[in-house]
């Protein structure tokens, strides 16, 4: 009977094309539930981005880790600046000359990078650990949109958070240093670059963690590798003969110092160098992760 009605509508209202089509489909479709989705239902990169945003924000661990990264950045920035201000009279002339007020207030990033790095690992290794990855890749069988969406959503979230964290830490820190008149302003040369660069570095370490998580598909292994690269490798390179010591400039950890510094030191590479080194690590590890994600069984 409904088919007949649909036909009648179809023949009488010849002008309204779309309405006819809709009536025809609803009458002929054997499956009533959710049939209206059909025309729009397909996978797009934008939709996968939205999905990954939901995933990122719907885990308590994400929220807590992001909060922790913000907390340690601000608290450590405050403490280090306060301690420095108190101890300032004991500084020597050379120490005063090389003192970097911006970097001091942003030093919380040394801890924040570990929190964000672990979160980056978990963004994908958590899916392997729980089996969620099969659902994720099952509904997006081309797979790469999932990886790119994870990287983009996570990078945007951690960069946004770290910019805010650094701005607060900077403001709080400079307020402490102002008692000795050794504070700097955001508008001073290189300061804004340092604030943004440090946020970029921490984000980069997070994305490096994500790439390692995708490559190793195992949370402890990926975290151990990331921490090894960040904390242990610099120690080993530091033990090399002086002629080979510049190898250390090409470690991810050196990028952090390079991007954070405002007062240049001969032992730290330039911010541009730091940026390029970090990007190189990200390009290589993400490319490897992408290739393996497509080739390996899920």
């Amino acid at each position: 009977m409904s088919t007949q009605m649909a036909r009648m509508i179809g023949t009488t209202t010849t002008v309204t094309g779309p309405a006819t089509a809709t009536a025809g489909r609803s009458a002929s479709g054997p499956r009533p539930a959710g049939h209206g989705h059909r025309p729009a239902m397909r996978v797009t990169q934008l939709r996968v981005l939205r999905s990954e945003w939901t995933k990122l924000t719907s885990l308590r661990s994400t929220v807590w880790t992001l909060a922790a990264a913000l907390g340690v950045t601000v608290v450590l920035g405050f403490i280090l600046s306060r301690v420095t201000a108190n101890d300032w009279p004991n500084y020597g002339a050379e120490e005063m000359r090389t003192f970097d007020a911006t970097a001091t207030s942003l030093s919380g990033m040394y801890l924040a990078q570990l929190a964000i790095g672990v979160l980056g690992v978990l963004v994908i290794s958590g899916e392997y650990a729980t089996g969620m990855i099969r659902a994720s890749l099952g509904v997006v069988p081309r797979r790469l949109p999932v990886l790119w969406a994870k990287v983009a959503v996570f990078a945007a979230a951690s960069f946004g958070l770290m910019v805010v964290a650094n701005l607060i830490a900077f403001t709080v820190g400079q307020a402490q240093l102002s008692s000795r008149h050794i504070d700097v302003a955001l508008s001073d040369p290189g300061v804004l670059r340092s604030v943004l660069g440090t946020a970029f570095f921490v984000t980069g370490i997070g994305v490096l963690g994500l790439a390692l998580g995708a490559l190793l598909r195992n949370t402890p292994a990926a975290i151990a590798t990331l921490f090894g690269v960040l904390l242990v490798l610099p120690q080993i390179v530091g033990a090399l003969p002086p002629r080979l010591a510049r190898i250390g400039d090409h470690l991810p950890s050196a990028s952090g110092d390079a991007l954070m510094q405002v007062v240049r030191s001969p032992s730290v590479p330039s911010p541009t160098h730091g940026l390029l080194v970090l990007l190189a690590y990200l390009v290589v590890t993400l490319a490897a992760a992408a290739v393996l994600l497509v080739r390996r069984d899920a």
């Binding site: 719907s58 969620m132 997006v140 069984d297 899920a298």
Partner: protein, 328 residues
Amino acid sequence: MIEARGLEKRYGDKVAVHDLSFTVRPGTVTGFLGPNGAGKSTTMRMILGLDRPTRGEVLVNGRRYRDAAAPMHEVGVMLEARAVHTGRSAAKHLLALAQTHGISRRRVNEVIEMVGLTDVARKRAGGFSLGMGQRLGIASALLGDPATLILDEPVNGLDPEGIRWIRSLLRDLAAEGRTVFLSSHLMSEMAQTATNLVVVGRGRLIAETTVEEVIASASPAAIHVRTPQSAALRDVLAGPGVTVTSTAADTLDVTGRTSAQIGEAARAAGLALYELTPKQVSLEDAFMDLTRDAVEYGTTSPNITSSSSTDNEKTLALAGIVGSEARA
């Protein structure tokens, strides 16, 4: 429509699936039957592109699953292992899956209600019972209103109520014209839900058939009769094509006559009947009859050979289909 052509999957030296070809026809409930380790899950993962076949290919509605524009609309999937992040709520889990396809929140709530998870939808999926996890899996499979459903051991570990729920749901889905492909290691379970069967053992195809065929091919069912005048009834029933056996003084097992014929014959002869019961053909028995000739590798496992009497039983024991009830 699912078409597997010469599928093969090797993990190193181990062959999980060997030269497997079968077709799951639209609008049918097709059972994928075989013991644990027969290659069912691997095959399903290959259908979904989660595992890459070493050889051969499998097409869903005429093309590879990964080439579908809206995979969730083509195939709804529930794999055996839970594919859910334990820290996320059921609602957010489903929403995240739905968003990849631009499926609305309304539809998410609809499937949550459909599977009866409304009360726990905001709770973390990690705390779900097995039955709730299965319901969540079904919900995610239904999100995209798919033409085909692939369900790996959907009744595994469910309580009787959950099993009944899944069975009726599967029937409803099939009645709506959807293709359902579900795996199980139990023939009896398949008989409850499936019409068609793809039977595998050790990664190979043993039979591609229908439940009806399995039953029809079985030896005709006997009718159990209890009467105080068993000798007299035996004489009355005797005739061409009729077999009567007896296990006790007052009972007969009759083949070649229907219950009605036996009852009428007894009335005509003035004989009293205390019981007239058609005996159910055991599906496992029927299945053995059907695959009597399908024995290819029954001798490869000496342990099993020693404990089985016929070649056919060897195959099935090897496949783990017969006698797996106890284990399950």
